[in-house]
């Protein structure tokens, strides 16, 4: 119950002539009233209202008709209570604007330039001392931990200081601060006690903003968006600065404070201090992690820590509050800040969904098979449950929650097919190619390819994963981006932040909820209408399954003419070319035959196919003067076989088979400039095919790449042109 609302109400009552003004005032004060009603910090009027368990029936009236005495009493104690509207005129809003502009400018201007690749270093003979110092410091190597540490040092100090102050505040509010008469701890405690709340809040806001800027700046210099949600956002991304500033603003004014000593500045409730301190802790951890380049993208552990802390606090507070409420020793309104209800409740829902699913799953397995073999059966693949370090805890929860819902989504009710266990081959090798992320700044991340060998012996599976690097690591997937991750962000940079991934997962979660809800309604409706639900399901189960087409051996299908068809097959086209009459029957037959041919994979057949394709293509070419697009179209039309037509095959097709009988086309060994530019720098005879990452030198042929790969260990693989370390390569095709 607020003083301001009371004052407004009484003011509007006294100025009853200006009814319109009164209405506007009441409207403007409404959010304040709502907030104050929820936070319920105002002791005086709250105590006056009837409590104990049920919500007072006159709760609504409390806003309209306060007694004058109560109003004046409240006014005497709390001169102002900040409204949400006041936030927009506060210095916090100004700060947010400045931050938005600053972060936007940093994002667009601080972009690393690509360093010159072939610098041999000019040597200077006589250098002054200043010059030496200058050269020692500049240019900065932002990937080095020391450099980053120095850059982070000032903001680290401020963040640490603010965290310390909030911790002391919390300890003092809980009356757990160690009581000493003298010494550092006592001095510190006294000093913190004397600080005004508004000053602390503003200093916290400034420290957070400064940390944002520093991290953004360093990321900008670095230019590497390895796994970071947005190019510039650094680790501050899962953080909502507007919300935080709003909280700081609200709780910095004495109107919201519950703890009011006589001669010292007032303080808010301990729960509020805790909810403000948790994000600060998270931000500080991020800031510390940002010092080390490799850790700077780790988000999972800090977010998980703060989420768990927040959840524990939330549930602890609610539980404690309700036990107290039952014994009747407290007010009905919870002391927990309203703003934090929603995320906590949402996360709790997700966790409960997940836990329920896993428990039910385990229970079923336990009851039916006597042991829990796979606790995550049917809950999506292993990749779903394996979190990546760069992921937000919230996004992870949503993902897992959605998967859990999906698993319980009545999906397999009609599915009566038992599990078919096929014996896996003894050793399976699976090859995965590497991939690469590129932005304007250059290659940002290279994921090495892996060879996964699965060995099965006596029911036990062994999985061996070998990563390949250097010249052995073929990169087949190059992702280009403008510096932002695929699931980018929405919002003002550095101020409001929402991960697009979060939205996507949230949408999936909601759709699943909707589908399940709708399904339940359907089932309920059927029950209401007296149908036998079970029958309906059974009917659905007995729906005929679509029969998969099975290749029937040729003799069975076409019994009588097995002998004539085999020989005639190749001659068919020749006969067609000669203009002989072909019966419809035969045409159909040759058509129906082609799927069978696709299955046959032996070399002879494919060689025949190839010959035929080349012949067909040459035939088409000779007929008419075709345009270049028609060339390609003809090539594709005449090409047959399991795989699509490659450029090399196309090139081989272009050269008539009479002149060069299917040897790989080798460029003439002419010593002209063009060939030296196009040929491998190592053997100078083959065409260049291999591009190195991350230096992007297109330098050699595949054969020399293999030689290089076998010569030394992956860590020593260097580009033959610029001598930079090679992380992977791609094969390219120049048409």
């Amino acid at each position: 119950m607020s003083a301001v609302s009371a004052a407004t109400a009484s003011a509007s009552a006294s100025d009853s002539k200006f009814v319109g003004k009164g209405v506007i005032d009441a409207l403007a004060a409404f959010p304040t009233r709502l907030l104050s009603a929820w936070t319920g910090d105002e002791g005086n009027t709250m105590d006056a209202a009837p409590i104990r368990g049920t919500w007072p029936p006159t709760a609504a009236k409390r806003f309209e008709v306060p007694t004058t005495e109560a109003a004046t009493a409240a006014q005497a104690v709390t001169p102002t209570l900040p409204g949400p509207w006041a936030f927009f005129t506060s210095s916090y809003m100004l700060g947010l604007f400045a931050m938005a502009i600053l972060m936007h400018r940093i994002q667009n201007i601080v972009v690393p330039t690509r360093p010159p690749g072939h610098s041999f270093g000019t040597r200077r003979r006589d250098r002054s001392f200043l010059r030496i110092v200058y050269d020692f410091i500049l240019p900065l190597d932002v990937t080095r931990t020391t450099t980053r540490f120095v850059l982070h040092l000032p903001t680290l100090y401020f963040m640490g200081k603010m965290l310390l102050i909030w911790t002391i505040l919390l300890a003092q509010a809980c009356a757990m601060y160690p009581q000493r008469d003298s010494g550092l701890i006592a001095e510190l405690g006294d000093w913190v006690k004397k600080q005004e709340m508004s000053q602390i809040s503003w200093a916290t806001f400034c420290a957070v903003c400064a940390a944002f800027c520093v991290e953004g700046f360093v990321k900008g210099l670095d230019g590497v968006g390895v796994g970071i949600a947005a190019h510039m956002q650094a680790n501050t991304s899962p953080f909502n600065l507007v919300g935080y500033a709003f909280m700081l603003h609200i709780y910095s004014s004495p109107g919201t404070h519950t703890y009011r000593p006589l001669d010292l500045p007032s303080r808010p409730d301990k729960h509020i201090i805790f909810t403000i301190a948790i994000p600060l802790l998270q931000l500080t951890i991020f800031h510390v992690l940002s010092i080390h380049k490799r850790w700077s993208s780790h988000r999972l552990i800090p977010t998980a820590l703060s989420s768990l802390l927040s959840l524990t606090h939330f549930h602890g507070t609610l539980l404690l509050h309700h036990t107290k409420l039952r014994t009747g020793s407290t007010k009905p309104s919870t002391p927990y800040p309203l703003l934090n209800y929603i995320p906590n409740i949402f996360e709790t829902c997700l966790i409960l969904t997940t836990v329920l699913t896993v428990v039910l799953n385990c229970l079923t397995q336990l009851l039916l098979s006597g042991g829990v073999v796979r606790p995550l059966l049917g809950l999506g693949g292993g990749s779903l449950w394996a979190p990546s370090w760069e992921e937000d805890f919230g996004v992870l929860l949503l993902r897992i929650g959605t998967a859990s819902l999906e698993a319980t989504g009545l999906r397999g009710w009609g599915n009566e097919v038992g599990t078919v266990i096929a014996a896996p081959p003894v050793a399976q090798q699976q090859l995965e190619y590497g991939s690469l992320d590129m932005t304007r700044a250059g290659v940002t991340m290279g994921a090495p390819g892996t060879t996964i060998t699965t060995t099965t012996s006596s029911g036990r599976r062994k999985r061996r994963v070998l990563t390949t690097r250097g010249w052995r690591n073929e990169v087949r997937d190059v992702r280009l981006s403008t510096g932002e991750r695929q699931d980018g962000t929405v919002g003002i940079v550095g101020v409001i932040w929402f991960s697009r991934g979060w939205f996507r997962e949230a949408w999936r979660y909601l759709t699943k909820l909707w589908v399940i809800g709708w399904g339940l309604v359907g089932v309920g409706w059927d029950l209401v209408r007296g149908r036998k639900v079970r029958d309906g399901w059974m009917a659905r189960t007995r729906m005929p399954q679509p029969v998969r087409r099975v290749a029937i051996p040729r003799q069975d299908r076409n019994h009588g003419r097995a002998e004539d068809s085999g020989a005639d097959d190749d001659g068919l086209y020749e006969r067609f070319r000669r203009g002989e009459d072909l019966s419809d029957d035969e045409g159909e037959w040759s058509e129906g035959d082609s799927p069978d041919e696709a299955f046959s994979d032996d070399g002879e057949d494919s060689a025949n196919e190839w010959d035929e394709a080349v012949g067909l293509y040459a035939e088409l070419q000779s007929d008419e003067a075709a345009s270049s697009s028609a060339l390609v179209a003809h090539a594709h039309m005449s090409h047959r076989g399991g795989s699509p037509l490659t450029r090399r095959q196309f090139r081989n097709m272009l050269t008539p088979p009479e002149l060069e009988p299917r040897a790989p086309s080798r460029p003439p060994v002419a010593a002209d400039d063009d060939s030296s530019r196009r040929n491998c720098v190592i053997c100078v005879s083959e065409e260049r095919q291999i591009i190195c990452w991350p230096c992007r030198c297109l330098s050699m042929c595949d054969e020399c790449r293999e030689t290089l790969a076998s010569r030394s260990s992956a860590s020593k693989h260097r580009c033959p042109c610029c001598r930079k370390p090679v992380e992977g390569y791609s094969r390219i095709f120049i048409p």
Partner: protein, 148 residues
């Protein structure tokens, strides 16, 4: 295979587009050994001299750098008693994309313009730096003695 092809190509390159002042003859039996000679430029301290040197190509050639040894004695700050020449490209800056005609060009440049920076023979370098005339006369003497 790669090595031989590359060497043949390099040899062809060097014979069709020779570096000025340098002649190259490959060993008939052993393509990995090239006999070269360089005729010093007219404006160099070694005017009139012809210096023989051998380029030894390692068996794994483009991946390892070739070795250059001077057979003719030369009074040069960058070439020592044993005929080794100090060229960064032939040592730690070697990369397979360096061609032998580039190497020859670098050798020619190095021989014709002796400089006291990073010397192989510090005494000669000091002389060249402090008493150039003495250096020049000794160089001329050596040319007469060994390289005519």
């Amino acid at each position: 295979m790669t090595t031989l092809r590359r060497i043949q190509k390099e040899l062809k390159d060097v014979t069709t587009n020779p570096v000025e002042g340098i002649t190259v003859v490959a060993n008939e039996e052993n393509l990995f050994q090239w006999h070269c000679s360089i005729k010093a430029a007219a404006d160099s301290p070694y005017k009139g001299g012809t210096f023989n040197f051998i380029i030894e190509l390692p068996p794994n050639f483009p991946f390892k750098s070739p070795q250059v040894t001077f057979k003719t004695k030369i009074y040069h700050p960058g070439i020592n008693e044993e005929g080794s020449i100090c060229i960064a490209v032939l040592r730690d800056e070697w990369k397979p994309s360096v061609t032998l005609s580039t190497v020859l060009a670098i050798i020619s440049e190095k021989v014709n313009n002796p400089s006291p920076d990073d010397p192989f023979e510090p005494e000669i370098a000091a002389l060249l730096k402090n008493e150039k005339s003495k250096f020049l006369s000794t160089a001329k003497e050596w040319v007469k003695k060994y390289a005519l």
